[in-house]
């Protein structure tokens, strides 16, 4: 049977797109796409990915050149999704099923996406931020406050994502609201250590993932991606400081402190 190059290119670009959207590193995206092309017997394929764009290109047996570009929008990290697409890609490379079947499998994986419900995610924020408030030297009451501020951050991130705000604005907004919340909780006497509460809650926003991924990209030789992710990490760090400062400054001005 004649290989349908158009569909193969669609399949490759789709897998790459989904991997990157769930937070894979650049080299994993490129390597997976290359392997997929090779599994279908295309040795003239070229793949190039940077954090917001994927380009896949191949030359058919008759010498015809095909290219597809996928623009990547801002995305988060979804480990479950990443693992499933990674498994799917390994399976496709191993079995190389007919392309129609492979596309159906991709669609099936997208349909089966599992996400925690909002309340469960908020419970995660509560536990994570509360534990960090303790971790940084707070007491039991600080844990409660840190957890509450974490929940506020979770809500803030959830709603700003639905409004389509950009990541820096979202970070500024979330850190400002959570710092305000921490100030109020401390002012009414529930929280004991303001610093520990704020830091604990901020841990939900710190750019640890961006920094780690950036380093892994640099190590794999993708300098462009690595540097742009380092810049992203620094900007997010700045956004956290800015948001918190905004809120603390306002609160002190209003409270007359």
């Amino acid at each position: 049977m004649e290989l349908d190059y158009d569909k193969l290119l669609c399949l490759t670009a789709e897998i790459g797109y989904q991997l990157m959207e769930s937070g894979a590193e650049i080299y994993r995206v490129e390597e997976s796409m290359n392997r997929l092309l090779e599994a279908y017997g295309v040795t003239t394929g070229e793949v190039f990915a940077i954090p917001n764009c994927i380009i896949a290109s191949l030359t058919t047996a008759t010498g015809h050149a095909l290219t597809q570009i996928r623009r990547m929008k801002a995305h988060g990290t979804d480990v479950d999704q990443l693992e499933r697409y990674n498994d799917l890609c390994r399976r496709l490379c191993r079995e190389a099923p007919p392309i129609e079947q492979a596309l159906a499998l991709v669609a099936e994986t997208a349909r089966q996406r599992r996400q925690w419900s909002l309340p469960t995610q908020l419970a995660g924020y509560f536990l994570g931020c509360g534990a960090f408030a303790l971790f940084f030297g707070g007491n039991g009451r600080d844990m409660l406050c840190g957890g509450l501020c974490g929940v506020v951050i979770g809500l803030c991130m959830y709603f700003t994502a639905h409004w389509g705000a950009n990541p820096f604005f979202r970070t500024i907004a979330a850190s400002a609201v959570s710092a305000l919340c921490a100030e109020i909780l401390t002012a009414v006497g529930l929280g004991a250590h303001l610093d520990q509460i704020i830091i604990g809650a901020l841990m939900a926003l710190v750019p640890g993932i961006a920094l780690t991924n950036a380093m892994r990209d640099v190590m794999a030789g993708d300098m462009v991606s690595g540097i742009s992710k380092v810049a992203e990490a620094l900007l997010i760090g700045g956004a956290i400081a800015l948001g918190t400062a905004l809120s603390l400054g306002m609160f002190h001005m209003l409270a007359g402190g």
Binding site: G23, A24, E25, R28, T77, D78, V79, D80, Q81, L82, E83, N86, D87, R114, Q115, W116, T120, Q121, A123, G124, Y125, F126, L127, G128, C129, G130, A131, F132, L134, F135, F136, G150, G154, D195, I198, I199, L202, M203, V206, P207, G208, I209, L211, T212, N213, A214, M215, R216, V218, M219, A220, A233, G237, I240, A241, L242, T244, A245, L248, G249
Partner: protein, 154 residues
């Protein structure tokens, strides 16, 4: 008893935080335990290495190396991407406090304190990055060599 409090409790907190953030980043099943254990182990390494190296930047570096090695091993065992375990286990080491205190110094107009704290924060972040980078590069080299050896036979 005092030792228990100083060592075990922070690691326990790091573990709990790891579970919490696993939910946020949609890690499921055994992966949650692996992430959280990585976080706890990393912090244990950070605390235990304190008397030896006496610098929190070096402590972060060692802990980052341990976490990185742990995640690489676990990812290999479960045939999953390493990032999933790495990023959450590293959370306790990320200098969130540094960002906050630098900001406080800047707000108070203490330029000297701000610069000190900022440089310290960047140093911690750098130590983290270099620790991860070192282990991951080593793993890649070892992997590449193993594949080279396997290729002629297959």
């Amino acid at each position: 008893m005092e030792m228990l409090q100083e060592l075990a409790l922070p690691c326990l907190y790091a573990f709990a935080a790891g579970i919490g953030f696993s939910v946020v980043f949609n890690v499921r099943g055994v992966g949650m335990l692996i992430c959280a254990c990585g976080g706890g182990l990393g912090w244990l390494c950070y605390l235990l290495s304190a008397p030896v190296v006496q610098s929190d930047i070096m402590q972060s570096f060692l802990a980052a190396m341990l976490i990185s090695a742990w995640s690489e091993i676990m990812a290999r065992l479960r045939k999953c991407p390493v990032t999933s375990y790495l990023v959450i286990a590293l959370f306790p080491l990320v200098p969130g406090g540094g960002i906050y205190y630098s900001m406080r110094y800047a707000m108070n107009g203490d330029v000297q304190g701000f610069m000190n704290e900022l440089m310290h924060t960047l140093g911690l972040a750098g130590a983290l990055a270099v620790g991860v980078l070192l282990v991951s590069s080593l793993v890649r080299v070892v992997n590449a060599r193993r594949q080279e050896r396997q290729r002629p036979t297959s």
